[in-house]
Amino acid sequence: MPGKTLYDKVWDAHVVHAEDADTVLLYIDRHLVHEVTSPQAFEGLQLAGRKPWRIDSMIAVADHNVPTTSRSEGIDDPVARLQIETLDKNCDHFEITEFKMSDLRQGIVHVIGPEQGATLPGMTVVCGDSHTSTHGAFGALAFGIGTSEVEHVMATQTLLQQKSKSLLISVDGETGPGVTAKDIVLAIIGEIGTAGGTGYTIEFGGDAIKALSMEGRMTVCNMSIEAGARAGMVGVDDTTINYIKGRPFAPTGEQWEAAVAAWRNLKSDDDAVHDKVVRLDAASIEPQVSWGTSPEMVTSVGGHVPNPDEIDNEAKSEGMKRALEYMDLQPNTPISDIKLDRVFIGSCTNSRIEDLRAAAEVIKDRQVADSVKQALIVPGSGLVKQQAESEGLDEIFTNAGFEWREPGCSMCLAMNADKLGEGERCASTSNRNFEGRQGKGGRTHLVSPAMAAAAAIAGHFVDVRNF
């Protein structure tokens, strides 16, 4: 019998019961909750007279709707306020741990889970949010669920699940200088497409992934969903274990020793067989910039906007034309000629301390270009913000003309006041460049934090490696 993949191992350890050949009842260890996808689940629970099965498995935080201006100003938008108050009320009622808006630990749900040590290797982690895949960086099986499933997990601590196939994406060799985790994952999506991972759980492997910090691995796993996969995972190694050690929710003492011993096994066996394997050469990956309205529409910074007329697949060519029209871009335009109105550094993809350090390194002693209307930096959590301030990064940002904000999802999805105006063009470190994602008629280009920082200074895209 062949060995087991990492995915097999975590899956097998959580099967409560096999319903039939395809469907199992899967146990859930960690349930993260936020304000947008939980109110209807809490309501359903209460209407049925049910209670959460395991309150200690839950951590709640408001992130999507929170303002990023000073917390003392409260929330202007009454609809958003009601949603956040509803989360507070539900958490108070059921005594669920919640990091409220005034708490230093508040932040984007996928930033705070790992930061608190609440995401551990080998766990099943769910949240009513597709970027739950982020937590797979810890060798956890982590995936987004809809609100009905949120209610199912609350009520039963389980989910009815069908196992997916396994896709190994191996990024072999070493990346060049100036090439980050974001560039790796954008290059992967450019290669396999936004439906390339549909029906699969991805395992990211290869030397270039192993060389990444936990922050970098989280960036990669975060965008598994943009490649169509519900979950992305990375095997456990010293990097994983060192990151977790000493965090508030991490085990201690004898339990720590026992946990580490068990976690060491959380990687695919050498003789494990994946249903599909994709290999990328790390050395060939350059800093990436998306040019269209789907994350697969991406190219390297030295490249050009592609020409749909040169594509023989008609549906694809039509899709590209539509995207270029929306993005107001001409075929064959050099990427470095694209000028920006706004720059956004933040989101669960790129708002951790390392991301801010990378941006600061580029920004130091420089100024945001006059043509750029707004350059925002939104840290992923209150603790990230505090850390950045202790390193003096906030001063580098504000001296350069960036706005330094309170934590939240912000302009990643523009549910709060941070959004693009009609036709505005943005360099963004977030994960989705869909039509209207950052505001109706807004145009998003996905890039790494260093590339976004350089674009803010130059006013257009530039290769951060020669900047």
């Binding site: 409560v16 019961h17 319903e19 039939d20 395809d22 469907t23 009842l25 146990y27 260890d29 947008v36 996808t37 209807q40 200690d56 999507h64 709707n65 609809v79 949603q83 551990l120 766990m123 009513g128 949010d129 597709s130 739950t132 987004g144 669920i145 809809g146 009905s148 499933e149 209610e151 009520a155 039963t156 601590q157 389980t158 009815l160 069908q162 997916s164 936004t194 439906a195 549909t198 029906g199 169509g228 519900r230 929710f249 085990p251 339990q255 720590w256 026992a258 946990a259 068990a262 549906a315 899709g319 539509r322 999805l413 549910m415 989705r432 869909f434 039509e435 209207g436 994602r437 109706k440």
Partner: protein, 212 residues
């Protein structure tokens, strides 16, 4: 969940690939704490020329006459024929609620994003996956045939076209049963309460740090 057994419904073609959940229901409408009322904002940015905000009177909106759902002949459509990778993007079940609230009971597309596919069943919305050529053919017939209705029978897993063509589709047995019966999944799972407790007891032994 709501049951789905049979449907005889007017179809409407929306043949774009990668129709994402942001397009199906834009984020400004996710601030609602209810499950209903999303139908008026289904495909909001495509459907209307003016920007939409929550709580707006639909009579004040400016529908885009070029958007297919606004065409008179497709009023009351219950079957949406769509392009590949339908429902990609976020996990928001609001996308399913919006389709359902609008009156769509079934989507036919070559493939779906996993989370959307899963979510659909919870509201009794049937997502049918058939090959691209078949979807294209249905979309073309629908475009060219006034009053084009499809008959969908979940029990026999068939779609019947107005000209009598019968198309078979796949669906896994568990989901099919739940949908046919309109089962309460949570109630069903809670009948296995003992199994969950047994699992927890053994897991507390083997991995106590997970119960900290």
């Amino acid at each position: 969940m709501k049951a789905f057994t049979k449907l005889d419904g007017l179809a409407v073609p929306l043949m774009r690939n990668n129709i994402d959940t942001d397009a199906i229901i834009p984020k400004q409408f996710l601030k609602s704490i209810k499950r209903s009322g999303f139908g008026v904002n289904l495909f909001d940015e495509w459907r209307y020329l003016d920007p939409g905000f929550p709580g707006q009177d639909p009579n004040d909106r400016q529908p885009d006459p070029d958007f297919v759902l606004n065409e008179e002949r497709f009023a009351g459509a219950q079957v949406l024929i769509a392009g590949d990778n339908f429902g990609c993007g976020s996990s928001r079940e609001h996308a399913v609620w919006a389709l359902d609230d609008y009156g769509i009971r079934c989507v036919i597309a070559p493939a779906y994003a996993d989370i959307f596919y899963n979510n659909s069943f919870k509201s009794g919305l049937l997502p049918i996956a058939v090959d691209k050529d078949t979807v294209n053919k249905l979309a073309e017939e629908c475009e060219n045939t006034p009053g084009y209705k499809l008959s969908i029978d979940l029990a026999s897993q068939t779609i019947t076209t107005p000209s009598g063509d019968v198309i078979n589709f796949d669906i896994d047995a568990f989901r099919k049963d739940c949908l046919l019966e309109g089962l309460d999944e949570i109630g069903l799972t809670l009948q296995k309460r003992n199994l969950i407790q047994d699992y927890e007891a053994s897991r507390k032994q083997s991995a106590p740090w997970l119960f900290g």
